[in-house]
Amino acid sequence: MARQSGDVIVDLRNISLRFGGVKALTDISFDVREHEIRSIIGPNGAGKSSMLNVINGVYHPQEGQIHFRGQLRRRMEPHHAAEQGIARTFQNIALFRGMTVLDNIMTGRALKMRCNFLQHALYWGAAQREEVAHRLKVEEIIEFLEIQSIRKTPVGRLPYGLQKRVELARALAAEPHILLLDEPMAGMNVEEKQDMCRFILDVNDHYGTTIVLIEHDMGVVMDISDRVVVLDYGRKIGDGLPDEVKNDPDVIRAYLGGAH
């Protein structure tokens, strides 16, 4: 199933990231094309999450350049990334536990809301209209991800699989161009994984969202990715179509286990 992928949207060139003496990423280059599902795989500690954190501005690489839509990106903060349309989910669920599902997803709309706090204090006219308008959009996502029945539930009370889904909903609420998913299927059973795969493919298809995915389940990765990049000990050891990567001897040795 070869989907049509577009121009390069994120171009990472020679990225190196260090924490003190620890080299998290060394000289990594790869690109992400518009509308594709790009997977990052690798053993634990390979630097996959660090890579996502570099893309959305949580970490600042010491060396290398990031071009976003052809523009060289200077040092940026996470909210800049959000403003440019990059949303993400986290490996360990990072929902706002004290809030309901609905409020959590509404936070995803924050950057699109224009009223100031004085208007909010009045909650009249513009502020209320804005709240309702964004609620409509959020309800669309709630329906899309089939979580209507839990919209008023505090997220802390939800089972793990649903929390992951709510986190995806929160990221989608921002209507991102690029969605970074950090192990969206970790700890799920087969049915939940199938649901999540379906949602990811639907998002990619329906909203045209570019997706960068970290995942350990090789079956899932090989099935849904357009291209795969493989990291090991902070270095890139493979990059290409799923089938190419699968048969790359380096990747097999480092990741899928060599012959002993």
Binding site: N56, V58, E77, P78, H79, A81, A82, E83, A87, R88, F90, A94, L95, F96, R97, G98, M99, D103, M106, T107, G108, R109, A110, L111, M113, C115, F117, H120, A121, L122, Y123, A127, Q128, E130, E131, V132, R135, L136, E139, R170, A174
Partner: protein, 355 residues
């Protein structure tokens, strides 16, 4: 049986977003406002108005302020009393030094002055969290009181440092009687409480709670931590400042900087812990609890034990009971009185046929 939402349907998101989505709640709340806004000032005696109801309202306002900062935005503060002091002395000086300053404007300016100071002492929150931030706000508590004592200009060079609040008058009407002062306090608190409720149920409140619950995720979504936290400090201090000004003008009448000490800050902190952290209703319940309980014990302990204990022991016993009750509450319901109320309502929805 009376408290049922069956048959009440919401047909728009605006209806779903109401503060009281259930009709019985709306009726109940209107009655409550009529009782406290109309019946109480007409019927209650002077002692109740002056010594109980007015301070409960004022402390509720301060507790709302602290609850915005601590309960919603997650920034622990021990400086609420100091921000009240800023409000009280700012109002005093605005009315003293500006000819024809309207009282309500002075009240708003007092709140703004406190907000400004609050933002200043909120700056450390950008680098430090939790207990360490609490210590930084403790610095605000001592520093502000020290400044107000050190520079006699603030108390208009009064030799004792005590200032007497000027007479409150709005549009020529002088608020002198306890009834009038109570009604004024009630109106100001009601309006500000509504504004607070609106803030916390809208995008501003969600931003605060997001920063409270998971600041990294909040940043990734696009919230700016600095702006969000400082806004919480500003709004919180505004509420404390207005509460402080009311404390001076409609409650005790004469204030000195040392009156706004750490004890008062702790008292407000207890109010939100007992009332419910992260709840506007909780601020009112907590304030009522903290103000009423000592008065209740004052009357109860002598009635139960007579003079057998001696005056010294009786007053100590009250403190012991007070502390014990607080601990009991925290163990039984760590989310406070507001949560108990919520549970009661949920039970009531099913009563008397719970299955």
């Amino acid at each position: 049986m009376l408290y049922r939402e069956a048959g009440q349907f919401k047909s728009s998101y605006a209806e779903d977003g109401r503060i009281f989505p259930i009709r019985q709640d709306r009726v109940g709340f209107t009655l409550l406002m009529l009782v406290f806004g109309v019946a109480v000032p007409l019927l209650a005696n002077e002692y109740w108005l002056k010594a109980i109801l007015t301070p409960v309202l004022i402390f509720s306002l301060a507790a709302i302020g602290l609850n915005i900062l601590t309960g919603y935005a997650g920034q622990l503060s021990l400086g609420s009393a100091a921000f009240m002091a800023v409000g009280a002395f700012a109002a005093y000086n605005f009315i003293l030094r500006v000819d024809g300053m309207p009282f309500l404007l002075a009240l708003a300016l007092a709140g703004l002055a406190a907000a400004l100071v609050g933002v200043l002492f909120g700056l450390p929150s950008l680098r430090i969290k939790g207990f360490y931030l609490a210590v930084a706000t403790l610095a605000a508590q001592f520093f502000i009181v020290w400044v107000l004592v050190k520079f006699p200009w603030f108390s208009n060079h009064s030799s004792s440092g005590v200032v007497t609040a000027q007479e409150v008058s709005i549009l020529g009407y002088a608020f002198v009687s306890p009834e009038a002062k109570y009604v004024l306090t009630f109106l100001v608190v009601a309006v500000l409480a509504l504004a607070a409720k609106n803030l916390v149920r809208s995008a501003t409140g969600r931003a605060w709670m997001a920063v409270r619950d998971m600041d990294v995720a909040a940043q990734v979504i696009g919230f700016r931590l600095m702006r969000t936290k400082l806004l919480a400090f500003a709004v919180s201090s505004f509420y404390c400042g207005v509460a402080g000004a009311l404390y001076a003008y409609t409650y005790i009448g004469t204030v000195e900087p040392e009156g706004f000490n750490l004890d008062l800050s702790f008292k407000i902190l207890f109010m939100i812990i007992i009332g419910g952290v992260g709840s506007i209703l909780g601020a009112f319940l907590g304030a009522a609890f903290i103000v009423l309980l000592p008065i209740l014990l004052d009357n109860l302990v002598p009635a139960l034990f007579g003079d057998a204990l001696g005056a010294g022991f009786a007053s100590n016993l009250q403190l012991i009971i007070f502390g014990g009750l607080i601990i009991f509450f925290l163990i039984v319901e760590p989310h406070g009185l507001a949560r108990l109320w919520q549970i009661a309502k949920e039970k009531l929805r099913l009563w008397p046929f719970p299955h």
